[in-house]
């Protein structure tokens, strides 16, 4: 499916009932390449050419990367599981399940992530000692699970009714039909939307610095309080996040392409 014009983000094309995200490609210079080239060049220039104080800053800040990745990866897994069950709960045929899932979504979407994070960390901390890391993963998962739930619900509902009917008519159980027929098609159409959430999670993982987790941002802030080099430090922090985010968005795009290649 060749595209005529360059476009940001995934495009949706309709081919007999199936939604295929396609990506404008085929140019040597695209916005992604331009941005990552800028980010990497800027980092290299600062660290290896300007050197002092940037090489020192980079070494300090990058130590926070494993924690940033860990929190993000944990939250991605957690929110996918929560989102899947929330989406299924919203369309389930039990009224109680609909309500539980619906209230969860409304509740979470109405409270800022930063407030949730602080609340969960300190509220849970009142009852049992929770380390910063699991608290952060749980809080991010709960928050993003609600958004993912909406994405799953919309994705499942976008699959034509006839798919479920055909599966049931063949003797499959509802559960089999969901797992074998509906969800695989859902995953494909929601991948771009979920991918955006992954990227948002990577960025929002920086909020965990408020609960004393030493991620990239926290290391930067500590460095600033020691050296007062705020502009230099936060420039490096921003560039490091930018590179990671761009790489993740490329990974998501590659996953989409692979999924599309598996078909047609």
């Amino acid at each position: 499916m060749a595209s005529l014009e360059q476009q940001r983000g995934p495009r949706i094309e309709v081919t007999d009932g199936a939604l295929l995200p396609t990506r404008g490609d085929g140019y040597i210079i695209d916005s992604w390449r331009l941005t990552i080239a800028f980010a990497i060049l800027a980092l290299i220039t600062l660290i290896f050419i300007a050197k002092d104080p940037y090489d020192q800053i980079f070494r300090v800040v990058i130590k926070g990367a494993p924690l940033t990745f860990g929190v993000t990866a944990g939250a991605i897994l957690g929110s996918i599981v929560l989102g899947l069950f929330t989406g299924l709960g919203q369309i389930a045929r039990g009224r109680a399940l609909n309500l539980v899932a619906g209230v969860y979504v409304e509740l979470i979407r109405g409270i800022p992530l930063l407030v949730q994070l602080i609340f969960i960390y300190f509220a849970l901390g009142k009852f049992f000692r929770l380390d910063g890391f699991p608290a952060a993963v749980i809080a991010l998962s709960i928050c993003y699970g609600a958004y993912m739930g909406e994405i799953f619900r919309a994705g499942i509902q976008a699959i034509p009714r006839g798919q479920m009917e055909a599966a049931l008519a063949l003797g499959m159980t509802r559960r089999q039909a969901m797992r074998l027929i509906i969800l695989p098609q859902t995953m494909k159409i929601i991948l771009p939307a979920i991918g955006n959430e992954f990227i948002a999670m990577l960025k929002d993982s920086s909020l965990v610095s408020v609960i004393a987790l030493r991620d990239i941002l926290r290391r930067g802030r500590e460095h600033v309080s020691r050296t007062f080099l705020s502009l230099e430090t936060y420039a490096v922090v921003a560039l490091v996040y930018l590179v990671f985010t761009l790489v993740l968005s490329k990974l998501v795009a590659m996953m989409e392409d692979r999924m599309n290649k598996n078909e047609r």
């Binding site: 007999d16 006839g162 798919q163 009917e165 055909a166 599966a167 063949l170 003797g171 074998l180 494909k188």
Partner: protein, 246 residues
């Protein structure tokens, strides 16, 4: 036809959608090996009747027996009935993320728990039978409408059903593809399959139907052999409708 074993026994079937009564007490029996064609104006309840038989629509009154098994009530085993009834839809409803072969082999594997090798071997045979032996690896998106519908028929046949239900199987097809699908259906008729077909293909009706059922406003108005219904229907409503479509 053969020994008068009743495959589908519809007794006083009612379906109330709230705003409309789609079925107002329908009685119909279909014998083993019989081919019954259902015609009628849009909204007369043809699809609802067919979809009630495998409970894609739940009846609000009456009872249906499929080869003796009840559809409604505490003894109803809906999955058994669905295994025994194959359904072919107007818009195919093939699974777009599966190849033609997988579309056919999936349900035998997952529902009947037949091994992959066995169900794929059977799927290949069915593809041959519908004239698509070389398209097993194609995805539905790569097939024409007529080819899709033939895969859909093969998919239903893979469960070795006792009855096949067709809901306007050729209505979504370009005219040049109608014949290839009807030919597959005619082969099935020859093999003695019990079939209920909602269709306005008069050629098929004359060639294959044992009886034609005319429905209007949720009721069966008239039943009879094709010649009788088409040439001298008893009911005024039937004649009026036929004048429209012939």
């Amino acid at each position: 036809m053969s020994d008068n074993r009743i495959m589908v026994d519809i007794r006083g079937a009612e379906k109330d959608f709230g705003i409309v009564m789609a079925l107002k007490g329908v009685d119909l029996t279909v014998n083993e090996g019989e081919v019954v064609l259902i015609i009628g104006p849009s909204g007369s309840g043809k699809s609802t009747l067919l979809r009630s038989i495998n409970r894609l629509e739940a009846l609000t009154g009456g009872q249906i027996f499929v080869d003796g098994d009840p559809l409604v009530g505490p003894d109803a085993d809906i999955r058994k009935i669905r295994e025994e009834t194959g359904m072919v839809f107007q818009d195919f409803n093939l699974f777009p993320h599966k190849t033609a072969l997988e579309n056919i082999s999936l349900a035998p594997m997952k529902v009947k728990k037949i091994s992959i090798e066995e169900s794929e071997a059977r799927a290949r045979k069915l593809l041959e039978r519908v004239g698509l032996g070389d398209r097993g690896d194609s995805y539905p998106g790569q097939l024409s409408g007529g080819q899709k519908q033939r895969v859909a028929i093969a998919r239903a046949l893979a469960m070795e059903p006792k009855v096949m239900l067709f809901d306007e199987p050729t209505s979504a097809l370009d005219p040049e593809m109608v014949k290839e699908v009807l030919d597959v259906m005619l082969d099935l008729v020859k093999e003695g399959m019990t079939m209920m077909v909602v269709s306005h293909e008069m050629g098929f009706a004359r060639a294959a139907a044992d009886r034609v059922v005319f429905m209007d406003e949720g009721e069966i108005v008239e039943i009879g052999p094709p010649e009788e219904i088409f040439e001298n229907a008893r009911e005024e409503r039937t004649r009026k409708f036929l004048k429209h479509i012939l």
